[in-house]
Symmetry: C2
Subunit: 242 residues, 2 copies
């Protein structure tokens, strides 16, 4: 009668918290998008593992909740943090159609944090996290948020910066941001965070505009104070005696 | 000759990643603010533990880097994530005064994520993280960021919402935000995340305005879509078939 919504972090077991591992160990059923179940299935092969493909998020919640109301303990797993563009919200929403089920969200390390660590320290000061996917959000609202974040000099972290259909969205985003900050603003991209093929690149906003990224990439755009130190992207907090 | 900048997460050992634990185990020296060193000192009492009090962040970096250039492996520990208002940036900045030292940032779970998990799922959609501390940031810039985030309907997470000197800053922040969203917007506060005395409260923006908080509190302000489900704060991502 319980659903844990578990964030697995960037990918490797060494970035899954003991609390998240304990929840999965305690569970009868582990449910998730097939790619995330693949990450953990060897360790939990004695559990009932339930998967749905991408874009079947609502089905996945029903699947988990049906098991929970049958009396099972269920872990719904997500990459990164379950509460940042993850399944934690949807589980609460769909749960309203069921008898009361206890829900506990267990945080994992989201790509904003794991990606920032690889790039250096871009998120040391106020930042905005924006998804460029317009699958569930009107493009006009995304543009408004980009504009507001750029105007108020937030460091900006972009999730879902590209897809086949949205191949030019990062370019459009950069075109909005460059109206408010220098084309030489340090930016960074990180791909396959915590997984095989992990790579990062620090570049200017102008270079970022002309960079092709894919859906496995997280993008960071510095604020007016961000600088490059030893090839890394660093946003100062403002200590005067450095 | 290496400095790990390690995020300890919210407080308990069960939310420290194996990667963070391994870095501390590998280190000769563990440095940090005395409160964070207290959290881990029993487990690492065989290491050299170096502390400085609050507001001595630059000294703390020199202390860590001096050990590193002597050939030691050093972990600089921070609560939450080392890259979100943490020491990762300052270490890079101060390191420029030393011979080259390898720096590796290891993420932990930041209060935005651990607090969100306790409140339900407030950060499921685009969000802005803003510190209300004007110790290192001009108040005018903080206000500008609050206004921009409110205007563009970001969920807002506030760090450092109060201190003795800044007892009315949360009230001021709410007064800015309420110009752009309903006084009934669901909000939440979480105190002592992951530690003894952990508590949370879900309330309206109007109620938040008149709530006293302290420096151990993280504040969440919903966007126009955020709702309360089973007493928790939930921001929908926008799935239409729920």
């Amino acid at each position: 009668m319980k659903v844990y919504v578990v964030g697995l972090g960037p990918g490797g077991f060494n970035e899954i918290t003991p609390r998240a591992m304990a929840a999965m160990e305690e569970s009868d059923v582990i449910a998730g998008y097939s790619v995330y179940i693949d990450l953990i299935k060897d360790k939990f092969s004695h559990k009932t593992l339930l998967t749905t493909p991408m874009k079947r998020e609502v089905d996945r919640c029903h699947m988990a909740l049906e098991e929970a109301v049958k009396g099972k303990t269920v872990s719904m797993v997500c990459s990164g943090d379950a509460g940042v563009y993850g399944m934690a919200g949807l589980i609460y929403e769909v749960s309203q159609q069921y008898d009361p089920v206890e829900i506990e969200v267990i945080s994992g390390i989201t790509a904003a944090c794991s990606g920032a660590a690889i790039l250096g320290a871009p998120l040391i000061h106020d930042f905005a996290v924006i998804s460029l996917s317009d699958l569930l959000t009107p493009l006009e609202l995304i543009k408004k948020r980009l504009e507001a974040a750029a105007m108020a000099d937030f460091v900006i972290c972009l999730y879902n910066p590209s897809s086949k259909k949205r191949f030019d969205y990062l370019m459009k985003a950069c075109d909005i941001i460059v109206r408010y900050r220098s084309a030489n603003t340090p930016c960074g991209i990180v791909r396959n965070i915590g997984r095989e093929g992990e790579e990062y690149k620090v570049m200017t906003l102008k270079e970022l505009r002309n960079t092709e990224v894919d859906m496995f990439t997280t993008v960071f755009i510095g604020n007016s104070k961000t600088k490059v130190i030893s090839g890394k992207m660093v946003t100062p907090r403002g200590y005067k005696d450095v």
